[in-house]
């Protein structure tokens, strides 16, 4: 078991290295000169040259790549051009809202989607099932910001029961204020996540409900409730947990948009500010940071399989 965990953890290193090279190459091979973009429209040739030297863009590409990888290996994601702060430091300042928003979204989405999907599978073909399926197709068809604005319109502007936007840290303003400001962003962000998880839950529970041991359980008079929780959901857990990991990619994209709509000063806003300011190292560092998070979460999910399914032994 321990050897497997160690092996699995080490196996993420090459993937991360590949991601680092890919991010570097894609941004470097994209037509356009980052130095000219940073310098802006009114820059002189000297300005551009100065920035090129500062960013090390005059070195040959392999040398630049080597510097970038070495820098990453020492835990340095780069330094912002304008504020001169390290990207790691910037992330530290902005991570709280993003982390809390993501956690609330995942918890809320799982809490809604798993029961919905299970009921849909149990009452397959019923009205509940149809509504869940419609929701899961619809959830993939509406962009998160349109949903967000609809929610703002109804709940904040019309019914006036929730604040329109903003972020209040639970550590400074208390839990209640924090939650009041979180309701709308979490609802908007979790729709696509709920759609994804509910669809997967429905499919895997449906498959399990056809198994022999479910028929045996029914035959011995086990209550439907117990069958769903003990037999169906437990055996359907692995694919459900896996799809949550896949959904993290959707979540990261959604966070950027949601933070922008609701004016939440998190990592998503940091990315957009960096793009507007053309702060190239920050953009590059943040993309890499998010990719690493994605890889790590999926590693954890991989390792968690044995918790959900004792048949899986390493």
């Amino acid at each position: 078991m321990l050897t497997y965990v160690l092996k699995r953890v080490l196996s993420t290193v090459p993937v991360m290295a590949i991601v680092a090279v890919l991010v570097f190459m894609l941004l470097r091979l994209a037509p356009g000169d980052p130095a000219a973009v940073i310098a802006g429209d009114y820059a002189t040739a000297e300005d551009v040259e100065r920035i090129r030297t500062q960013l090390g863009l005059n070195d040959p590409i392999p040398v630049q790549l080597w510097h970038w990888l070495m820098q990453l290996a020492s835990g340095d994601l780069g330094t912002a051009i304008f504020s001169k702060k390290s990207v790691v430091e910037l992330i530290g300042q902005r991570i709280e809202p993003t982390l809390l928003l993501s956690l609330c979204t995942i918890v809320f989405a799982v809490a809604v989607a798993v029961p919905l999907g299970t009921i849909a599978a149990w009452k397959s073909g019923s009205i509940v099932d149809r509504v869940v399926m419609l929701f899961s197709v619809g959830g993939f068809s509406v962009p998160v910001f349109v949903l967000a604005y609809c929610l703002i319109y109804v709940l904040a502007m019309w019914l006036k029961i929730l604040p329109v936007q903003g972020y209040k840290s639970p550590f400074d303003h208390g839990l209640l204020t924090f939650l009041r400001h979180m309701v709308l962003p979490v609802m908007a962000l979790s729709v696509i996540f709920i759609a994804l998880i509910a669809r997967m839950t429905r499919a895997s529970v449906m498959e399990v409900l056809e198994e022999d041991y479910v028929r045996t359980a029914r035959a011995k008079g086990q209550s439907e409730w117990k069958i769903l929780i003990h037999h169906a959901l437990r055996n359907a857990a692995v694919p459900i947990v896996t799809v949550i990991g896949v959904g993290i990619a959707l979540l990261i994209g959604g966070v950027v948009v949601t933070e922008s709509v609701f004016n939440i000063p998190g990592l998503g806003r940091l990315v957009l500010d960096a793009v507007l300011a053309r702060d190239y190292p920050v953009i590059q560092g943040l993309i890499l940071f998010f990719s690493f998070i994605y890889i790590l979460i999926n590693l954890l999910i991989d390792l968690s399989y044995t918790l959900f399914d004792p048949r899986i032994r390493y």
């Binding site: 890919l22 941004l27 197709v137 502007m157 990315v271 590059q284």
Partner: protein, 297 residues
């Protein structure tokens, strides 16, 4: 053609038609697909024909800025007095162009890469590791960054949305190739000394078509959503082009005053993507029940 055929042959054709209805008919038998397809056709028709009947989407009318929807301006006007209805109709063209281009390019690149990875053994591992890496990079962030560096044009937006979509196609094609390559007819072709390109095109490629069509519809829908998100964040197609994302991005500032500027393009986008996704689901269920089970699971 039919007239030249012998009676026996046409009788046989009739018989096979009865036992096995055409794929199109099978797909249309699915009610959801029928209505989804109709909706999609309607949206495409509006996008193609509509712009000939509306005022120019860039025509400004300072006398009627931020007007509510009325009989004169069906969807109201924006902060420059431009007709939102006209802009939404024109925006449909942009969204469809982006969606279809991304679907076609991503499928083409993914198909070639996937066939090579699936068939040529020593290339499999390196290609797939690169694809795994690409899948780990958040698509929207990568697109924003690439557009920020290369400058926002329709082409850069399409390329930036296409790149993150490629790995999914590669994975799918590769998995099909891996199963097909063990089939007796491929072994027979190899034994007969058929050249590699011919094996790939004649024997492997046709097997990937059905799942590819399904995948391409999903990519088309996802690409339209991504385009709108990029436009909304101000990192997409240049603002002078009325794409749905751009219209909604401009509507942000005035949302509390004039919510319809975001509402109408949002509904148009959602309906179009919904139609594409419904058609995709129907194609999946009809064309490839095996993949259907796999994708649902």
């Amino acid at each position: 053609m039919a007239a030249a055929e012998t009676p026996e042959l046409s009788a046989e054709a009739d018989l096979s038609e009865k036992t096995q209805p055409s794929t199109l008919r099978l797909v249309l038998r699915n009610k959801a697909v029928f209505w989804g397809g109709l909706l999609l056709l309607a949206m495409v028709a509006i996008a193609i024909i509509g712009p000939f009947f509306t005022v120019a989407p860039t025509e400004q009318n300072v006398m009627s800025r931020l007007k509510a929807p009325s009989s004169a301006f069906w969807f109201g006007t924006d902060f420059l007095g431009r007709d939102v209805f006209s802009r939404v109709v024109h925006g449909g063209r942009i969204s469809l162009v982006v969606g279809i281009s991304v679907a076609l390019i991503a499928t083409a690149i993914g198909m070639v890469t996937g066939m090579i990875a699936g068939y040529i053994r020593w290339l499999d591992a390196p290609v797939m590791r690169v694809m795994d890496g690409l899948m780990a990079i958040p698509a929207i962030l990568l697109a924003i960054a690439m557009i920020a560096i290369s400058g926002a044009t329709l082409t850069t937006v399409i390329v930036a949305i296409t790149i993150p979509e490629v790995p999914r196609v590669v994975r799918l094609v590769r998995s099909v190739v891996l199963t097909v390559r063990e089939e007796p007819y491929v072994e027979a072709a190899i034994a007969a000394g058929t050249r590699l390109p011919f094996i790939l095109i004649r024997h492997i490629l046709p097997n990937t078509i059905a799942p590819m069509i399904v995948q391409a519809t999903y990519i088309c829908g996802a690409a339209m959503l991504t385009e709108s998100i990029l436009g909304f964040l101000g990192a997409g197609i240049p603002p002078e082009i009325p794409s749905w994302g751009n219209i909604m991005s401009e509507g942000r500032t005035y949302f509390q005053l004039t919510p319809w500027i975001i509402f109408y393009p949002g509904v148009a986008l959602a309906l179009t993507v919904l139609a594409v996704n419904i058609v995709g689901d129907g194609l999946r269920d009809t064309l490839d029940p095996r993949i259907a089970r796999k994708m649902r699971a």
